[in-house]
Amino acid sequence: MKAIYGLYVDGQAAQQAVNRLRAAGFADREITVLSPQPMENHDFGQRDKATWMWWIACGGGLVGMATAFGLAWLTETSWPMNVGGLPIFAWWPNLIIIFELTMLGAILATVATLVVSADLGRRSRLYDPEVSDGKILVGVENPPDGALRELETALGAIPEAQVKKI
């Protein structure tokens, strides 16, 4: 992988860099932004906000609910046992198991969605450890050879910018 990027001291400078890259003809999906904390007060921090995570969590909950219902039905009818005069399949006590597995399903679906949709576990992407020191990285991965000079100018035009190539 080759890349060119700039490191900026604050969100405002990073936003300027993003704007310059856009002006140079790069689409948002081509621009990489890495920050040490959420930057929702800047335009670039609003990218990729839409998510199906809520719906997937609900789906996971439904799967958990169906599993609990199936488990309760299967286990109670496969060995019918009278407990204190309760029906063999009694709704009131089973609701507790159904509730717990519903929530467990929603939680597990949420975490699975996070791992997949946030690209966790993927390697060899543009990164600089200085992001951990508070810097904000703005760059382009695998830029076209002819655009390198233009990119360097755009990224370096912001005061205190530190431009790097890999």
């Binding site: 890495l34 286990t75 198991i97 509730f99 717990e100 597995l101 929530m103 467990l104 939680i107 951990s132």
Partner: protein
């Protein structure tokens, strides 16, 4: 990074206590349950007391943290991780007790619903099986709720470490880079988890209360037990959190992060829970008193006037009088005041669990089932050592993981005024930098 000899000494001392308890448990398994004081009719003693107590303490973290996250309380930022860790470790300790309590602990797996040879399944209509499902759901949720916001902090440590430490944190950081997409997904996930974990936390202690209220035992079969147990759990959880925060502040020198305002806010919560606890106890006692059912009144007077009265009134002082005075009067609502009140609450809540269990079991409906309970050394060692286990796990955790969320603090520093909802206006994050 230099590690002080005090750390090793602390680990050695508390590790030694935990090891002693493990040997005591092994001896109980080898020699048989007769070495304990648990015998007919009091089958639940120190072990189930400790089980209920630790499950209660676990409500410190995830529940409080989830509520504070949902209302976007800015002052939560340095507090949440300290709290969430308590939940995970307290649940681990609490969940051990039903196994310790077994005469044949190697058969604990019978609680797991798996297709056995004769298709005999756990009875899903039993409160003990509900416990299994509820505690495991809460533990899974709490571990994930703790782990997810640690991922960006693992990335920070990954970038600042070398060698084996670097490789370990790189693995834990799951390739975190900090793209806007990752931040959005993480925050959405935390919101969903917070919403899901609150009813689960409430259900866990309600279900623990069902272990009692589903049984025909004097003073157990009452509808108030669910909310009474949940309130007590949150109460003891806040107390544990205050103690943990004060210790961390003192020994890890976190004065810059854990401010007096954090203690004062949690102190107010402790006061509110003390009042709520008092309200529930009053309700429970008054209804029993008016019911005037002989077996229930016998237990009632045993706790208030007779053999258990010293423990009962100590509980009332620790859980109600002490927090009311120390947290109610503003000049006492200092860090020291919070710690004293919290120690009182922790002691009082352990006594409360004990007083719910033992006096009732020792004095049921007919005289043939009257009996006494004398805890034996093995029970005292195991129950006492769980406190050492908690300290040990907490110390080890604080050694390897940033105990205060780095990215959440940074996010608090950069939050624009327009994004601060009204709920947090009273304590904006500027307080972190007086």
């Amino acid at each position: 990074m230099h590690t002080s000899w005090r750390f090793y000494l602390l680990v050695a001392v508390f590790g030694g206590i935990v090891l002693t308890a493990f040997v005591a448990w092994m001896s109980q398994a080898y020699l048989g349950y007769g070495v304990t004081g648990i015998r007919w009719p009091v089958y639940w003693g120190f072990y189930i007391t400790s089980f209920v107590f630790w499950i209660g303490i676990s409500h410190a973290g995830t529940l409080i943290s989830a509520i504070l996250r949902l209302v976007n309380a800015g002052w939560r930022r340095p507090v949440t991780r300290c709290a969430e860790v308590i939940t995970v470790f307290a649940l681990m300790i609490g969940a051990m007790f039903p196994i310790i309590h077994l005469g044949r602990p190697w058969l604990a797996f019978w609680l797991i619903p798996y297709p056995s040879e004769r298709m005999i399944w756990p009875n899903l209509r039993s409160p003990l099986v509900w416990d299994f499902f509820a505690i495991n759901t809460y533990l899974t949720g709490s571990v994930l709720f703790l782990f997810l916001p640690m991922i960006p902090d693992f990335a920070v440590v990954r970038d600042k470490s070398t060698g084996l430490r670097h490789r370990t944190y790189r693995m834990l950081a799951l390739g975190w880079r900090g793209t806007p997409k990752q931040w959005h997904r993480l925050e959405t996930a935390m919101q969903i988890m917070a919403i899901a974990i609150i009813p689960v936390a409430v259900s866990v202690h309600t279900i623990v209360s069902f272990d009692f209220s589903m049984a025909p035992v004097p003073m157990w079969q009452t509808t108030i037990f669910g909310p009474y147990f949940v309130a007590g759990a949150i109460f003891s959880g806040i107390a544990a959190l205050l103690i943990a925060m004060a210790v961390l502040r003192r020994f890890l020198h976190l004065e810059a992060y854990l401010h007096p305002v954090h203690f004062e806010n949690l102190g107010k919560l402790l006061l509110m829970m003390a009042l709520l606890w008092g309200y529930f106890v009053f309700n429970e006692r008054l209804v029993t008193y008016y019911g005037n059912e002989p077996a229930e009144m016998a237990v009632f007077w045993r706790t208030q006037r007779e053999s258990f009265a010293p423990l009962y009134w100590t509980m009332v002082v620790c859980n109600f009088v002490l927090p009311l005075v120390l947290m109610g009067i503003r000049r006492f609502r200092t860090i020291t005041g919070c710690v004293i009140a919290s120690f009182g609450v922790v002691i009082g809540m352990w006594l409360e669990r004990f007083l719910i269990i033992v006096p009732s079991l020792g004095h049921k409906y007919l005289p043939y089932s009257f009996g006494i309970y004398r805890p034996q050394p093995v029970e005292i060692i195991i129950a006492g050592a769980t406190f050492a286990a908690m300290v040990l796990m907490y110390v080890l955790f604080a050694k390897v993981v940033p105990i205060i969320s780095i990215w959440e603090l940074k996010a608090g520093e950069h939050i624009p005024a327009a994004l601060i909802p009204p709920a947090t206006e009273e304590h904006p994050l500027g307080e972190l930098h007086p």
